[in-house]
Symmetry: C2
Subunit: 426 residues, 2 copies
């Protein structure tokens, strides 16, 4: 399919935090995989392009998932009666050990990749395991389907890459701090030109208990977990007594950002100095509300982070989160923000639907560059949603239909079309 065309439909986007723009029966122009803005009528200069008429359907930017574990997909929705550290030990690590078997990895990752392809997610930052062969399979599967993602490899999971220092076994077994790194693989397709976009990563270096050489020297993106759980915060303090706070333990080894290429999931118990460092270093917060409830971690102070101007995205965090649905992540983020406001900080206004939608699209999309909006120059990552299977006794306004699609989880069964960089993949 040519990557230049026009979409006609009910176009929804959040160009700024909290601002939901809807153009009913509008036109969205894609030229060579790049957005050329939204129009009431097709401008004369695009008159030659094919018009895909989506009728009464909803057209919105694709979802960006900045935190998901591919090797945990196999047991999604199970083992949820444990708290974080016990859950890692009893559920996550035993499963991740299976990825030493490449045949198992191929089977499992194929299922994961198929589901991610069918989901609302158009860009993702994905965790693998320590197993190089398995991770190359994961990269290959996603390369084929091009949802546009960054795969990293777990450096501190239950097993070590060959040659790893056996002395830090205990640290690995406890699961935190986990450091994930990757470097761009050779032969990136042309559509991955802009920084980080759709980078296929592979194992970069051996794990050494957190004391790795500075990956910034390689301009490598880093993904990990930060201040997720009080027990884990205490554990990090014990393991890294030289660090002033959890994030400092990463920063001392060059694993804490500098130019927006580090994603830290959770950040529930970040202290003011940690938040200050994140802000200074441009570290991304991947807010994973579903997971934070499931493994009883808590609620991240997202309103405060927004007010501080931190870089914030949402993550499904499968399988701490149970499903790959970013629609669910959006509504979970709103729900927990209401409980946070109610019980923890009455100054922290709950997230509105447009605000949470922003985080899942343009907010997180900024990690990949111009991604997550329909403004001119943005990658054409789009969803066309068919919500006609949801009956109503009277017509609902488009804004209500959009909100409903998220709360009812219509990303399951309702995605009529999905585009990444203008290429139709559903």
């Amino acid at each position: 399919m040519d990557r230049s065309f026009v979409i006609k439909g009910n176009i929804c986007l959040t160009p700024r935090v909290g601002e939901l723009v809807i153009l009913e029966n509008g036109y969205l122009v894609c030229e060579n995989g790049v957005c050329r803005s939204v129009f009431d009528e097709v401008p004369a200069r695009y008159a030659g392009l094919e018009v895909i008429d989506c009728g009464n359907k909803l057209v919105l930017p694709g979802m960006v998932d900045l935190h998901i574990h591919a090797p945990q997909y196999a047991y999604r929705g199970t083992g949820m009666d444990y708290e974080l550290l016990e859950w890692l030990e009893r559920v996550a690590f035993p499963e991740e050990s299976r990825y030493a078997d490449a045949a198992y990895a191929l089977r499992a990752y194929t299922q994961f990749a198929d589901r991610l392809k069918a989901s609302a997610t158009t860009r993702a930052v994905i965790f693998g395991t320590v197993h190089a062969a398995a991770t190359m399979i994961l990269i290959g599967l996603h390369g084929k389907q091009r949802p546009g993602e960054l795969c990293g490899q777990d450096q501190h999971g239950p097993e070590r890459p060959a040659g790893a220092d056996r002395g830090s076994r205990r640290r690995r077994r406890r699961g935190h701090p986990q450091v994930y790194q990757g470097e761009p693989a050779a032969g990136l397709p042309a559509h991955q030109a802009h920084r980080h976009a759709s980078v296929r990563a592979r194992l970069h270096r051996r794990a050494d208990g957190g004391a790795g050489r500075d990956p910034q020297g390689y301009d490598l993106p880093v993904q990990s977990h930060l201040s997720e759980n009080p027990d884990e915060v205490r554990l990090v303090a014990e393991l890294a007594p030289e660090a002033a706070f959890c994030g400092d333990a990463y920063d001392r080894y060059g694993l804490f950002g500098r130019d927006g290429n580090t994603v830290m999931a959770h950040c529930i118990y970040s202290t003011p100095p940690e938040v200050e460092r994140m802000k200074r270093n441009g570290v991304w917060v991947a807010h994973c509300p579903s997971s934070n409830m499931n493994v009883a971690s808590g609620i991240a102070p997202i309103r405060r982070y927004m007010d501080e101007g931190l870089r914030i995205a949402l993550g499904s965090d499968v399988a701490g989160g149970t499903m790959e649905s970013m629609f669910r992540a959006v509504t979970d983020a709103i729900q927990v923000s209401k409980l946070y406001w109610r019980y923890l900080d009455s100054d922290a206004r709950p997230l509105s639907f447009p605000e949470a939608l922003y985080l899942a699209t343009k907010g997180g999309g900024a990690f990949f560059g111009n991604v997550g909006s329909f403004e001119a120059g943005y990658a054409f990552d789009a969803l066309v949603l068919d919500d006609s299977a949801e009956p109503t006794p009277r017509p609902l306004p488009v804004s209500s239909r959009l909100e409903r699609a998220f709360y009812l989880g219509l990303d399951r069964g309702g995605i009529a079309m999905k585009f990444v960089d203008g290429e139709r993949i559903v």
Copy 2:
């Protein structure tokens, strides 16, 4: 279809709080719509019954929803950026006013009834509006489909029944306290013999600002809301200064139980005297975690209520809750209990999956009598779940598959069969 048969499959039930019993490839006998227990082999005395082989599917008791608003179904999943009182004023009441139009009610309630029929819910306690014709339509629709429920009619919604006292308009407008009553309609089908089971209710009396005659004299079930939101608790105290607490405002007018026929939704801010009164009167708590997050109410202290021995059920509370899925209510109950434990009471152990499943089946089912289990003498309300569309790279144990079905919401799309009183309705 004959209401005597045998189901073969992976049979799951929670005979006691927290105890999940699974019989793989077991047999479940239904005789005249009533369970005759679970067996490893079909006993000789049932050898003549048809065996329905469900293969590797999951067989579990139907879900019981003790709090759902039929007239709010039309706008489910929308308007979620409001807190309770504003939400009632701006979203709930304007919609409920539409049910003065019987044609609208027929259209809307048909959609609701169809969806409830397709859902995992086998018994429900359902709210209507003040409009008699609309409520009779609702009763009729459910009578036809027999999911087994109790319909009530809103006495203090945005509009009054004809002849109602205009003096209490302000109270009505503010929405609380809302009192809902009903009485059995004439000509109940035979399967509704036991108390409350599948009662079709109709409007009983005019509203009078809470000062109704004692409905206990009529042995009427009562459903309402209790201590849902701090502002609402303050409002009730202002409107009923003679009452010692919210529940006392009901109790003074005979609207607060006595023999287990009163359901009060939410109970988030119930004081110790209120809890004591609920315990004494046998008042049911309908815990609605999804709604409690959405309209920013808070988290009910369910572990404490369980320890106190209160009668507890779950409710979807559409459209405070966004969907009719009781699978979602189960997992939401678990999730919020973890946040409650984390932030509000470290002695309140989070709900386990088997505990929450109990609340949604045998726990709430007790409102209807012997409902919600597969023990001998229980109504044969059952679901057969097909989870084969969820891929896994290795076989999962049945207990994990069951948990996963709830967390992934496989009640949407996964219900292969559904029985109420032994009658197959899906």
